[in-house]
Structure formats: C-alpha cells, structure tokens
C-alpha cells in the first residue's frame, strides 16, 4: 500500500475475522494517497477541479431549494435530503459504519461514487490485479452508471434552464486517464508542516466549515467550495495549469512555491495537520491563519478574534495575488460574496396558505376549531362574532380535531409528523405531542372522556389512548386508510370510515369497510362492508341513532373509461349505515351534473337534513332525511342492492337544494342550535357560513391566508376541480387523493379497452421519474395531463395552457411524506441491514454470480430507486399488449399497495413469492423466507 499504511478499522477487522468484509467508503482523500501524483495523471487534482467535487456544495444554492420543492421535498434542506444527496454526494444511502471516519460527504461525488466503496480494493497489491480489484468491489463504470444520476430530470431543467446533459461532454469533463506507466504516489509534497512554527497557523477551511455551514450561516462553507478559490490548487494540475506553468518556466506548479503562494496559501510550514494544501485558496487566505481565532468563544468576540489574527480582507488582500490591471475588485467580491444571511438561507419565499380541512365545535358551542393542513395550525373562530380569535401551530399538516367531553382539552392530529397534539383548549397551548401511527387523520373521544381514538390512515390502524395517562393502550386493526370517525348519539358505537377499498383480486369489485367500535370495551364490534365503494371519508350519525351517513365514491374501475359519457366512471354518493348492520347506498350525482369528491357530511340536530360537501364541484347538497329513508324503505331488496347505488335519477327525490360554496369545500359541521352550518373552503382559506333556515350561504369567515394566487395555488385548484370532466364527474383528486393513490386498478382505453387494467401510481415526487405511465409512453407531465387526459379520461376540452402549466407545477410540488421506516441518518435495524445486503448482493446463496442486469440495484438505483427504463420482468399477462413496463420508483414503497403494473401483487412479498417464478424480477428464488423478510424491511426504508 502506497502512502497510507493502514485504514485501521477495516484492515484490522479483516485480519481478525478473516472473512469477506462489507466494503466501506474511504473517501477521495484516501484515494489521493496513490492517485495524487503526477505519475498517476494527477487524477485526484482533476477530480478536485471537476464539478463532481462541488456537487454537495451546490445544494446550498437557491436553485437547489427550488429543485427540491419541485421534487416533492417540502421544507427540506437539500443538503439533508437523501434524495438530493443520492446524486450530489457519495455514500448518502449508507450508515455511519459504512464510512471511514476520514470520509467526508462534503467532498461531493467522489471516486467511490463511480468506482464503488474502496476499503477492500484500495491496497496497491489488489489494485495491481484487475481481477482481484474487481472481486474486491472496484467498479469501472460505464455510461449507464453515469446516467443513473445524469438522466434528464424535470426539476433540474425547470429550475436551471440548462440544456439536457450531454454524456459525451460530461465524460470529457471528468476524464482522468492514467499515464502509460503509472507509478502510485500521493499529491505532490509541498512544504512540510512545521509543528514548532510560531504564531498563527493555517487550520484549513474544513475547520471553518464546521461552523460556517447551513442556512443559519449563509452556507458559507458551501459557497467557498463552489468557488474557483476552492479549485485554485487543483487547476495547477490540469493541462492548462501545466501549460501556463511551462510558459513561466515552472515544471511542477503544484509544488512550486511561487505558484503555491497564490494557489495554495496554506502551503507554508505554519500550518496544522488539518490544513490541506489541496484546498487551494481557503478561508484563511483572506481572513488570516486561523489557529488562534477559530474557537467558537473567540469568534463570538470580534475584538478577541481580531486580536487572534482574524482579518477583514481588503482590495489590497486580493491584489496580493490578482493582477491589478485585469482584476475587477467589485465584481470579484460580488462573485464570492458569502454573507451570513443569504437568499438561499431564506429560501424561495412561497406564500403559506392555510388549507382548512376539518372543523369541530368545542363543547359549549362558542368556538369553532379549524385544522389548517398546509398552515400547520389550528384556527379558532368565535362563533358569536364570526371572527378568527386565535391561530397557533400544532405540528405538520394538522387534519383532525376532537375535544374531551368537558371541552377543556383538544386533540389535533398532525398527519405529517405522526403525532397528536394535546392542547389546553382555553389557553390555546400545545401541552404535549404524542407519537401515533403513520399519518394520523381522524380523531375522536368517547362520551366519558376515557379513551381517545386516533385513526392512522397510512398504517391502517386505530390507536387507542387512555386519556388520563395519555398512553396508547391498544391498537385496533382498521380497514384500509381509516379516515374519519363519528360517535353514536348514545355513545355506544364509534363508526370509522376507511378511505380505500380493501385490496381486491384482479378484476373484482371494490369493497370498502366502515369499522364499528364498541366503546365500552374499546374493541372492534363489526366491520360494515360497502361493496363497490371507495374513498369513504366524511361520516356523521343521524341524531336518532338509527343510522349514520358516510360519503363515498363508487369508482367503476372494471369498465373502460370510455363509459364516462354514460356517467359511469366515478359516481359519488352516501352510504346509509343502519344500526342493525345493514348498508344502503345512494348517489348524490344527477344525470347532467356530478357531485364530485363528496367529502364532508353533517346532520342537523333536528334530524331533518344532512349536508354533504362536494369538493370537486364547490357545492353542498341538502339531503332531506325523511325523503331519503322513505325512498329506501319503499324500495325492494333488489332495488336497494342494484338500483339505488347506481341510479343517477334517484338523487332528485331526496336532494332538496344545492348550496354554492367556496373552492373545494371539505369538512362541514353544524352548530348545536341547528341554525348554522360551517364548511371549510379548503382552497379559499375561509369558512363558509350556511343559514340553515334559508338554506343559503350567509357569508364567509376569513382565516387570513395569503390573498395572492400563485401558480402553485392555481394548479392546486385545477387539480381539485371537476370542471374539466364531462358532467363534472371527477377531478384529478378523485383518483389521486392527497396527490397519492386510491389503490385501484383502472382499465384505461389507451392500453386497450377492457384488456389490461393498470395500477394507479402516486404523484408524490414524480417529476424526476419520467417517463410516465406503466408503458412509459408519456415523456412529460404536460403530455400526461394534457391531451392524454382529455382524450382518455375527461372527455371534455383539455386544460388551457395556463391551467395545464399550473397543474403540472402543482403536481411537482405535492409533498413526499418522510419515510416512516427510517429517519434521515438513522441507523438501519439489523433486519434492514441484512436486507440491504440482499438488495445489493451480486451472488446467490450458493455462490452463483447474479448477472448485473438481474440485480436489484441495477434497475432500482438510488436515490429514486428507478433507472427510469422499461424492463420485462416476466409479469406480462396474456392480455397485456407487451411485457416491458416502466420501473417504478421505490421511495416510500410501503404505502402504495397493490404492486406491479396491474396491481396483481397485494403485498410486497407477493411480488416475489408469486410473480417471479423464473427469477426474471431479480434473482429471488434461492432466498430463504427470512432473507425475503429482511429484503422487504429494507425496501420500506427507501
């Protein structure tokens, strides 16, 4: 081994155990010990001079935050996002133990990003034997590896306005050939550090960067790393560097004191071991050697810092190196400006809308509490004055709100944070936040104030808390996507809607569940089945206690979308859930006007009416309960099962009025006196007031959201509006609630009518995963949402260019929830760690090499875990017109069942236990059951 005797942890462990080791990342600086010399083509310097070495630093730029936003990364620091770091750094997907202590993620895309982790091949003896090096993990990347990161990304094109990556040019820019007879050696030796040197010594910019980083410090370290200064030494090793040096009579510029004076001022004896000559013109070149002032306490005291040698550079400082005749001082200073506060630090300011979702009246009747999903707040409305009197932060994406029976405490679910906020209702103060299951949505208490029920819509369960102790006492299995709850008037039964249908066998009718909890024991008493229904959301008991009403869609996914003209794609209605356990269904659509996305429901205290909101058509339907129940009661069994759930003419028999609302009405609640209803106009940031005596709107209560309508906001409104569909039957939201999936397979005409149903795919973070559709035939979102939508889905004039542009923009910003199975930088569990080894394995259990094209990581490379190509993995069905399908990304894969192009795998396991008999979807049939379990545990972390 040249230049580096030991990387102790790795080699010692290998010696002691004697077994093949998992390679770990050693960092480019370790590579430089052999690849730094000119006799090795100055490869380290060439890398340092390339954009690869700055890849991490550029994530601090303002445009990186724009890109992050367009990638569905809400309020995420790009330098903290594993998605961004996946291509802008090396080993971003590893655990700490997989990186040597000397490894620095700040070095961006390093040697090992392309050549693989180096601990096992880095010794000279291994490297001199190509086969041994390959076996030890050395990769010689081809163009395919480059394209894993350099494939066109919509987010980057939109933000940077740069042409598509030219691979040829890119390869030219990073080429680093070895000379004919390479002789390993370190970077050229500069003046050796003198430990006895007196006075201030250079500490190196990395030391400065320990504090001067991140948004609170204006990303100063990153700004320096992105500058020419950081490459000043490296440039000496380029062909141009040698050329200029030669002109000046210098043979070895990287060691020549005259060159180093300005290209690497730290190349002096007075430097600490941490100071690297290769860093070029570092912070201390202008601010003075830092050994005496770099301590935090000194830096916080300007006088002390100055006394310790901290300098404020001047024109003269710059002119010490820059040619006074050519040097434009003001421009240069501007170019390297690194203020503590930057535009990047402040972010790209986007108005923060409120998006009121659900509301509840605090016991006592004087206050209306409103959860504001994107505002991350709860707003409190004084019902007497109809004014907002308070608004306070509860957590990420608050959705549901409930009170103890005495109204003293409130509980708000924070869907983004997986917590519930316990609130002192009078003091408007969050007393405590308690962890919940995944994506808590609805919340309810019982009549005694004994138990609290939290509906975790992503983990499909209901956590039951003891209200006194605020501790989870049990977890109840829900249906799929528990959403909202309503307590029966006598308090004995809590009904919970589930927004997704159960996963059904291919070409089977949807089947949704309303979970009935018996509150005395806090156990599931019954599971009411609602055939043909999905997206069940709002629910409210009729005051008689005889039945409850729940909102629902009836998605006709088993017939081709061409049936839209017959009113047969998605219908919207109500489920009547009788106390006896019977279930009826009725529609709220009418032949010429759909009632798209029915989401909220509330019964008047006198039991006369039920009000249902349609977020797609901006209306409330007023249902006359007597007419509705009368219709049901005089219908035959056949009619109740087959006619009422489907007949568009029936709603006119019980809907007595439609009341217009603001944009996208969601939750609805009625005051205890029965005189007024309140509806959350989600995309207007206000609460609509309905006069129930006149059944007319009676004003709005403004929640104080931004008045400006941004492109994103406009797109959000387009997304949630059914205006674009024939007879307003559905909106984008109908199939992509919350920008995600409805868990349904559709028979879309484009794939051949009636022959090849395809699984719905999430919109979260999809911009950079083009092409779209399972067959990968749509190259862009605008194609997907433009002509294709109008031809195959909506059967109406397409979106206007303005609408389409805004819609596409909005879709790109739909936030991607944080991974529930692995927090950023959290270590993997043992099972996940074993699973990762399987994901990246190259040989089978019996030692056979797995062909590269059949390894998991080949088609599913990080950070999105898709190569964005089409592959045939043997899942073609006889009626599919071809077998190659777009590789889906795997981020948060756990929450998008079912799987495969046709949704035929109900669970991740089934992908391999059932649908991979010939090892075409990766080599998996040699795996033991525990190995498959481990693999799946790892997949969930991606």
């Amino acid at each position: 081994m040249m230049g580096r005797l030991l990387w102790p942890a790795v080699l010692l462990a290998a010696y002691l155990v004697g077994a093949p080791k998992t390679p770990v990342y050693v960092g480019a600086r370790a590579c430089s010990t052999c690849h730094g010399a000119r006799s090795m083509g100055s490869q380290y310097g060439l890398w340092l001079h390339s954009k690869h070495s700055q890849a991490w630093a550029v994530l601090a730029k303002p445009e990186s935050r724009v890109i992050a936003r367009l990638s569905g990364l809400r309020d995420v620091e790009p330098q903290q996002s594993v998605i961004c770091l996946g291509c802008h750094a090396t080993a971003a997907h590893t655990e700490e133990w997989e990186r040597e202590p000397e490894f620095r993620i700040e070095d961006g895309v390093q040697c090992e990003a392309c050549h693989g982790p180096g601990s096992e091949y880095m010794t000279e003896s291994v490297m001199r034997d190509p086969e041994a090096a390959r076996k030890a993990g050395l990769r010689m990347p081809g163009e395919r590896e480059c394209m894993k990161c350099h494939q066109e990304k919509g987010s980057h094109i939109a933000a940077l306005q740069k042409p598509v990556f030219d691979l040829k040019q890119g390869l030219e820019a990073v080429k680093h050939p070895l000379p004919e007879n390479p002789v390993p050696g370190p970077v050229p030796a500069a003046v050796p550090a003198d430990g006895k040197a007196e006075g201030p010594r250079f500490a190196g910019s990395d030391a400065c960067g320990a504090c001067h980083r991140g948004p609170n410090r204006g990303y100063q370290y990153s700004i320096w790393r992105s500058s020419q200064h950081a490459r000043a030494w490296a440039v000496l090793g380029t062909a141009r560097g040698f050329e200029v040096a030669k002109e000046k009579g210098v043979a070895e510029p990287q060691t020549d004191p005259a060159c180093l004076k300005c290209h690497a001022p730290a190349a002096v004896p007075a430097r600490l071991a941490s100071a690297r000559v290769e860093e070029g013109v570092g912070c201390e070149a202008c601010h003075g050697a830092g050994s005496e002032y770099l301590e935090d306490a000194i830096m916080r005291d300007r006088t002390a810092a100055a006394k310790a040698g901290l300098r404020q550079p001047t024109r003269k400082t710059c002119l010490g190196c820059h040619d006074g005749n050519k040097f434009q001082y003001d421009e240069a200073v501007k170019k390297i400006a690194h203020p503590t506060r930057t535009e990047a630090a402040n972010g790209i300011a986007e108005p923060k809308y409120k998006n009121p979702l659900n509301l509840a009246i605090r016991p006592g009747g004087a206050e209306l509490w409103v959860t504001c999903e994107t505002g991350d707040t709860v707003a409190v409305i004084d019902l007497a004055t109809r004014e907002k009197t308070a608004e306070f932060h509860t957590g990420g994406a608050p959705t549901g709100v409930a009170f103890t029976p005495d109204g003293k405490r409130a509980f708000v679910t924070n869907r983004l944070d997986d917590t519930i906020a316990v609130i002192d209702a009078a003091g408007r103060k969050v007393l405590k936040t308690i962890p919940t299951g995944d994506e808590p949505h609805g919340v309810a208490t019982d009549n005694q104030g004994r138990l609290l029920y939290v509906l975790n819509t992503s983990s499909d369960d209901i956590w039951v808390f003891d209200l006194a102790a605020l501790e989870r006492v049990k977890t109840l299995a829900a249906g799929r996507g528990p959403w909202a709850a309503s307590l029966s008037p006598d308090g004995s039964a809590l009904l919970v809607t589930n927004t997704f249908s159960h996963i059904r066998p291919l070409r089977s009718t949807l089947l949704s569940e309303v979970t009935q909890i018996e509150t005395e024991r806090g156990t599931v008493e019954d599971r009411l089945q609602v055939p043909g229904a999905n997206l069940m959301m709002g629910i409210d008991w009729h005051p008689s206690g005889r039945f409850a009403l729940a909102t629902m869609n009836r998605t006709k996914n088993l017939v081709p979308m061409t049936r839209l003209l017959q009113g047969w794609t998605i219908t919207n209605g109500l489920a009547v859930l009788w106390r006896t356990g019977e279930v009826d269904q009725v529609l709220l659509d009418e032949p010429d006007m759909g009632f798209a996305d029915v989401t909220g429901i509330a019964c008047t205290p006198d039991g006369r009416y039920a009000l249902a909101s349609s977020s797609g058509t901006d209306r409330i339907a007023v249902v006359d309960i007597q007419l509705l129940t009368g219709l049901i009661q005089r219908s035959s069994k056949y009619e109740r099962e087959h006619v009422l759930p489907n007949h568009l003419g029936k709603p006119t028999e019980f809907i007595v009025k439609h009341i217009p609302t603001g944009r996208s009405p969601r939750g609805i609640v009625i005051a205890p006196d029965g005189k007024t209803a309140y509806v959350a106009n989600c995309l207007d940031d206000n609460i609509g007031v309905i006069d129930l005596a006149r059944l007319e709107p009676a004003g709005v209560i403004d929640l104080g959201g931004p008045k400006e309508v941004t492109k994103q906001r406009f797109g959000e409104r387009v997304f949630h509006s059914a205006k674009v569909t024939f007879h307003r039957q559905f909106s984008c939201h109908s199939c992509h609630p919350d920008g995600h999936i409805d868990g349904v397979t559709y028979d879309i005409e484009a794939d051949g009518i009636g022959v090849s149903p395809v699984d719905n795919r999430t919109l979260r973070g999809i911009l950079d995963t083009a092409p779209f559709k399972w067959e990968g035939t749509n190259p862009s979102l605008s194609r997907q949402c433009g002509p294709r939508l109008s031809v195959f889905f909506t059967r109406l004039a397409p979106f206007t260019p303005e609408e389409l542009s805004a819609l596409d923009y909005y879709i790109t910003t739909i936030p991607r929830p944080p991974n529930r199975y692995r927090a950023m930088n959290a270590p993997l569990t043992p099972a996940q760690r074993r699973g990762k080894e399987i994901f990246y394995r190259t040989t089978t259990n019996d030692g056979r090499e797995i062909p590269v094209e059949n390894r998991c990581s080949t088609c599913h490379p990080p950070p999105y875990y898709t190569d964005r190509q089409r592959h045939d993995v043997g899942t073609r069905h006889p009626l599919d017109r071809q077998g190659k399908f777009d590789v889906p990304h795997l981020n948060n894969i756990y929450d998008s069942a079912p799987y495969l192009h046709d949704g035929s795998a109900a669970t991740l396991e089934e992908i391999w236990t059932i649908h991979n008999p010939d090892d075409r979807h990766g080599v998996t049939n040699d795996m033991t059951k525990d190995q498959l379990n481990d693999l799946i545990e790892y997949l969930k972390t991606l």
């Binding site: 024991r521 599931v524 059951k929 379990n933």
Partner: protein, 397 residues
C-alpha cells in the same frame, strides 16, 4: 393438534382407563372421614356436532369471557357460555382454512388469532378474517401449530421455525436455527406469560424468549437420552416437547414422554408410572398456576393439582358404560375415585384452556366444559366424595 396426534387420530384410538383393568374403575382406598383432597370437577357439559360444532375434532379451545373459541378440523366455532349456543364459521364464511390448530385472544383488542394447519395465520376481528401466509407475508411457513399473543406481537409456532408479527409496525421476524438456539425448527407450541415467550420445539426442548431483553434461553434434556430419562429431575425429560406454560414464574412442559415442571431452581418430572398422569403421551397443556397444570393425553386428562404431595386428578370416560370418572391419586396411589357421569367425550384429549373456575377440554370427539362451581385450588380438608355429595355439587349432566 400435534402432528403425531393427527396420525393417532387417523388410526382411530380406543378409550382406555389407564389405571384399571377391564374398564372397571378401582374402588377408592378407604379414607379418613376428612383429609386434604383436591377439587374435583363433577359438573361437565359436552358439545359435539349435534350441538352445532363444525367438526368433533377439537384441536384448540380458548375462552375469552363469555365467549369460548373452538378450533376444529372443520372450522371455527364460538360458544356463548351464557346461552349455550354455538356459532360457526367455515371457508364459505370467509375463514381462510378449515383446520384450526391453535387459538389465542388479544385481551385488549378482542381479536382472535388462529393457527391454521397448512394455511398460515388468521385474525378474526369484528367479523372479518385477515389472512397471512407464506406467500403474502413474512410468515415463515403455513403449517402453524400454535399461536400466542404477546403485547403488540403475535407469535406463530410453525413447522419451519417461529414467526413473530408486530401488529403495530407490521414487521415479521423469523426465528430459526440462525438466530435462536433452535436445534430443530419444528415448533409445536408457543405460550406467553409473565414477560416470557416459550416455544415447545420438536427436538429442541423449550426455548425461552425474554421480551424485555430479547435474549434466548434453551431448556434441553441434560442427559441427552432420547429413549430414557437417565437422570431424574435434571431438566426437561425429553427434547421432543409439545407445549409449555409459564405462570407464577413456574414453567410447565409437556412432551410425548411425560411432563416437567421448573420453578426456577428445581426441575421435576412426572410420568404415568409415578404420578396421576394418565399417559406419557401428552398432546397439550393448560396451566392454571405454579401448582396446577392440566395435561391432554391420549388416554385422558390429567391435572396436577398439588405438586408438593404429587396429587393428581385424572378425568376419563368409560365408553362401555358411557360414563366418566375422576380419579384422585397421590404418588400414584388412588385415594378417591368418583363417577362423574360423562365428562370428557373422548379419552383422546387434544387441547385445553382454563378460564376462571372453569376448564375447557378439546377431544377427538367434541368439547367438554368443566364447570368449576366452588372450585378451590390445591388441597382442602373434605370428606371423600359420595354420591350424595356429587349430587349436591352439581352432578353430571
């Protein structure tokens, strides 16, 4: 039901009174007017297909308050103690598989977990069956013998190891020879109590998993002899175990070669030859306390009721006379024999559960409910039970 039990059943066993000859119960030895004697279950009810059970082979029984869940070879049944009515579920009702070999109830949620012989694991909750098997989940094998609920986890004893399913995180963990001291992976039984999960493993004795520490401990037969128990009371009597129960920090173990008890310090073995155990071939076990355990054998039911005095009560039936007997023994000596009328409907007993004062016994010919009116634990001074005393205590039905 254990596999060997299935084979035995298929062979069609007769009913044998283990201590008598010619099917005649021995007369009790003369006893003092009052001596310390155990409680005897004299009031029994039987349930068969005639009463609505889907099948008479009762592989599993679990009482949950007034509901008694019954796993049979032909479906699931639930007996309501209050009404005596039975409701049943078969595959046409959504039950994923008809053969149910193990049942446990999550006391907190009321969910009923079912071990399906050859079809995995099922949860019956609010009328809905959820089904996990080796193709759609992380369950290690579909041949599941037993199931136990441990906090938020559900353990399944399968023929290829044990599986643990976390109902909150939805994570599956497989325990085999790779990560547990499991010399063989054929898991027969699983039990949770007092913070410990015990696996009864064919050929690997008893494996104890400490929930708090995540550590394993194995209990093997120290003498290593398969045929004989070379050294008495040195550990479990055989590594082929069928069940375990851990109550009052006492571990009870059943095997096809006898029973064992471990109080944390001392082991003790029980055999047909020196205890009231009707047979050494024990299919299953139900533990009431550190002092009382019930063993389901191929020749009747044996209840160890007082360890210190080696006092047992064995329950069996005489098929010729269509009646049943309870026989009290102490160190194998019969000290009381009580005709109870028909108690257990078949001497081939497969499963048992204890619920309050009552006991539930699954047999090869239906279910027995022992009603424990005035039950008392251990021994108490009473006279030897006479016919009139039996009648006063409820008698047989």
């Amino acid at each position: 039901m254990r596999l060997a039990s299935v084979f035995a059943l298929a062979a069609g066993l007769g009913c044998i009174l283990p201590w008598g000859s010619g099917g005649q119960a021995q007369t009790a030895a003369p006893a003092a007017a009052a001596q310390k004697l155990p409680y005897i279950y004299t009031h029994w009810r039987q349930f068969t297909t005639k009463d609505g059970l889907p099948n008479d082979h009762i592989f599993a029984v679990k009482a949950d308050g007034p509901r008694v869940w019954i796993g049979t070879e032909g479906g699931l049944a639930m007996l309501d103690k209050r009404t005596g009515k039975i409701r049943s579920w078969t595959e046409k009702d959504g039950l994923p598989w008809r053969v149910i070999t193990g049942i446990d109830v999550d006391k907190k949620t009321g969910d009923v977990w079912l071990a399906l012989f050859g079809a995995g694991l099922a949860r019956f909750s609010g009328g809905r069956f959820d089904h996990w098997h080796q193709m759609n989940s992380g369950l290690v094998n579909d041949v599941v013998y037993a199931v136990a609920v441990e906090n938020d986890n559900v353990w399944a004893a399968t023929t290829a190891g044990a599986s643990r399913y976390n109902t909150v995180t939805k994570e599956w963990t497989v325990f085999t020879e790779k990560n547990a001291p499991m010399e063989e992976i054929w898991n027969y039984g699983v039990h949770y109590g007092d913070g410990k999960v015990h696996l009864a493993v064919w050929g690997s004795g008893i494996l104890e998993y400490d929930v708090a520490t995540g550590r394993w401990k194995d209990y093997l037969d120290p003498d290593g002899e398969m045929e004989i128990d070379l050294y008495r009371d040195d550990g479990i009597i055989h590594v082929i175990t069928t069940g375990a129960g851990y109550v009052d920090k006492v571990l009870w173990v059943s095997s096809y070669f006898g029973a064992s008890r471990y109080d944390g310090r001392h082991w003790r073995g029980f055999y047909n030859q020196d205890s009231g155990l009707p047979s050494d071939f024990i299919n299953n076990i139900a533990v009431r306390s550190g002092n009382e355990a019930w063993f389901c054998t191929d020749k009747g039911l044996g209840a160890a009721v007082d360890v210190a005095t080696n006092t047992w009560v064995a329950y069996t039936r005489d098929p010729k006379r269509n009646t049943g007997y309870a026989v009290v023994t102490r160190d194998k000596q019969v000290i009381e024999t009580v005709e109870t009328g028909l108690n257990i409907p078949h001497n081939y007993t497969i499963s048992a559960d204890i619920n309050g004062n009552d006991v539930w016994i699954g047999t090869a010919k239906g279910l027995a409910w022992g009603i424990g009116k005035d039950y008392y634990p251990g021994l108490r001074e009473r006279g030897v039970m006479t016919a009139s005393a039996r009648s006063a205590s409820g008698g047989a039905r």
